[in-house]
Amino acid sequence: MKIFQEESTQNRSDAVFKLITLTGAVILLLIIVALFVQLIKSSGLSLKTFGWSFLWSNVWDPIRQQFGAASSIYGTLVSTAIAMMLAVPLSIFIAMFLVELAPPVFSRWIGTGIELLAAMPSIIYGMWGLFVFAPFMAKYIQPFLKNIFGNSVLFQGPPIGIGMLTAGIILTFMILPFITAVTRDVFAMVPAVVKESAYGLGATTWEVTRKVTVRYGIRGIIGGAFLGLGRAIGETMAVTFVIGNSHRIVASLFAPANSITATLANEFAEASEPLYLSALIELGLVLFVITFLIQAGAHIWLQRVRKSVGVQ
């Protein structure tokens, strides 16, 4: 009798557990769908007025009620690209050093430091970027780049320290700890047996790292990179502080630019006209779609990598 009772409570608790988890999962889906529907609904006026040209028009003129997202999309994509180009190789090197080469105590200390960096709120990066890093860029790094590359298209204009390049570098600092932390964990999970066998065959540290560790952890690296990408593309405050908030598309990385999130942060409160507000919400919709496409792309890529590498 007693056994019977216990079983029934167990069944019930299982049912409740299932119900709770299911509700959570469904709520998540509902939120995503509701968000998407609401974004489309609220940007209806702008969608109707500008159509597809919203995506490639570079005019952002609240006075004349003409809006185009090109400059914001361009800024978001370029600043994120700069960050990824700098952060991904750098974090792989850091992770390699921590796992393969550094003495364990040292590695632990640096590991804690990285986690601390990852936990730092973005506004801190923004303020540090504006007050410390931007003047440093203007005084040393930008003149240095100008010296090396001359007056190439990418490094034209006066070195003012605020602009696309600074935003990209600040984003690099922000996503570096994320990618490093994930990559380090992945590298650390490579079975010692595999590595030892490679060493046993006479491979050098570099060969083991390149042919065993990286190959083994490639999915983790890509996963970490996309985690960083996700953060970089949606980052708002830090970018707003240093990007310069100018609605223009200029080839020079020294020039002030804008990003979708920075435009939203700056202009939402003051957008009193319906079309202006609607255009801003459409910007949000564009960001939503971009993020979605990137995530979908990442998924497909991961699948393909899994097949081609043939591990796990």
């Binding site: 409570t9 204009g157 003012i160 310069g244 609605h247 957008a271 009193s272």
Partner: protein, 354 residues
């Protein structure tokens, strides 16, 4: 069973939190005036509110969310009054059933970051200011600037213009001025709270503080901030040539000179912009900040409480305004405004004021 106990406890805590929130809101509502809008007059409104609360017990809850936000909030009827640096046109007032009146006068000051140039030493004509922001002058040692400042040793620096990234009444006043003094600006850019800035090397900061920081951090930058902000942060200001042809420095005196010439009497709906005013000493980029209220008030007591605060501010807040580098409204204008209250603001068909 444990689960149900947890659920019950959580529900209880939630219920407690919710009820305490709502009751807190109710009890405070009786003595609070709610306003939202311009950031430009925020320091003086906050000072007035602090003093007024001590004397009358009425608390002013003013959200400095920007002029555009202020207009949106009053139209959504979430606040008792809205505040805007840009006056609404008489037909807009008519359409929305609002009245507006000027509360305080302030000024916008161009500030620069030029190594080796002392504050107030650089002189600019209206044309030069417009050309700098249009991107026609790109170097500080341009011949046109040297011609006006023959005694200054101007550095060989590129011009970076700084403007507001957020829509702003300060921008409205500044671009309104540029439109008045430069036909090219008027045709190419126009004026508004967030115009499309023409200069390629233009950086934008959020709020006065954002502009101020960018100007301070970028060598060769020129920006514009409200006067009080420039004074408090000891920024390097320029002297501007006014309509009379004199180069004037931004001081309380030059703002007062500009405000004194304002003809509020003949401005329907108090639609008057104080930029480029005549007068030997007038600072050219001056502007009033406005309050917006509904003509038809639902609750006479609330409406009167709001008006009583403004009346007190007009009559007892002058010195505080001057201390914070604003220009209080002259007595004559105050009378005009209060007459308008009596005429226009009604609850149940009866005048609310006095």
């Amino acid at each position: 069973m444990k689960f149900w106990i947890y659920a019950f406890v959580i529900a209880l805590v939630l219920a407690l939190v919710l009820t305490s929130c709502s009751s807190g809101g109710k009890s405070a509502k009786n003595t609070v005036i709610n306003g939202a809008g311009a950031t430009f007059p925020y320091p003086i409104y906050a000072r007035w509110a602090h003093k007024y609360q001590k004397q009358s017990g009425v608390r002013l809850n003013y959200q400095a969310i920007g002029s555009g936000g202020g207009i949106a909030q009053i139209k959504a009827k979430t606040v008792d009054f809205g505040a805007s640096d840009a006056p609404l046109k008489p037909q807009d007032l008519q359409a929305s059933g609002l009245i507006q009146f000027p509360m305080i006068v302030g000024g916008v000051v161009p500030v620069i970051n030029l190594p080796g140039i002392q504050p107030g030493k650089l002189k600019l004509t209206p044309q030069l200011l417009a050309d700098l922001y249009l991107g026609k002058i790109t170097e500080w040692n341009d011949a046109a600037i040297r011609a006006v400042n023959p005694h200054l040793k101007l550095p060989d620096l590129a011009v970076t213009t700084v403007h507001r990234a957020d829509g702003s009444g300060t921008t409205w006043i500044f671009t309104n001025y540029l439109s008045k003094v430069s036909t090219q600006w008027k045709e190419k850019v126009g004026f508004g709270k967030a115009p499309s800035w023409p200069h390629a090397n233009a950086v934008a900061g959020k709020g006065n503080e954002g502009v101020a920081v960018y100007v301070k951090k970028v060598n060769g930058a020129i920006g514009y901030v409200e006067f009080a902000y420039a004074v408090q942060n000891q920024m390097n200001y320029v002297r501007l040539q006014n309509a009379a042809g004199n180069f004037v420095a931004p001081t309380i005196k030059t703002f007062q000179a500009a405000a004194a010439n304002a003809d509020w009497q003949n401005a329907p709906g108090f639609y008057l912009v104080l930029t480029d005013q005549p007068g030997n000493d007038s600072w050219p980029i001056t502007g009033a900040s406005f309050i917006l209220m509904y003509k038809k008030q639902k609750n006479a007591v609330v409406a009167k409480r709001v008006l009583a605060f403004f009346d007190w501010a007009y009559k007892h807040g002058q010195q505080m305004a001057i201390d914070l580098h604003y220009v209080p409204m002259p007595q004559k204008t105050v009378q005009l405004v209060e007459d308008t209250w009596t005429k226009e603001i009604r609850a149940d068909g009866k005048p609310v004021w006095p």
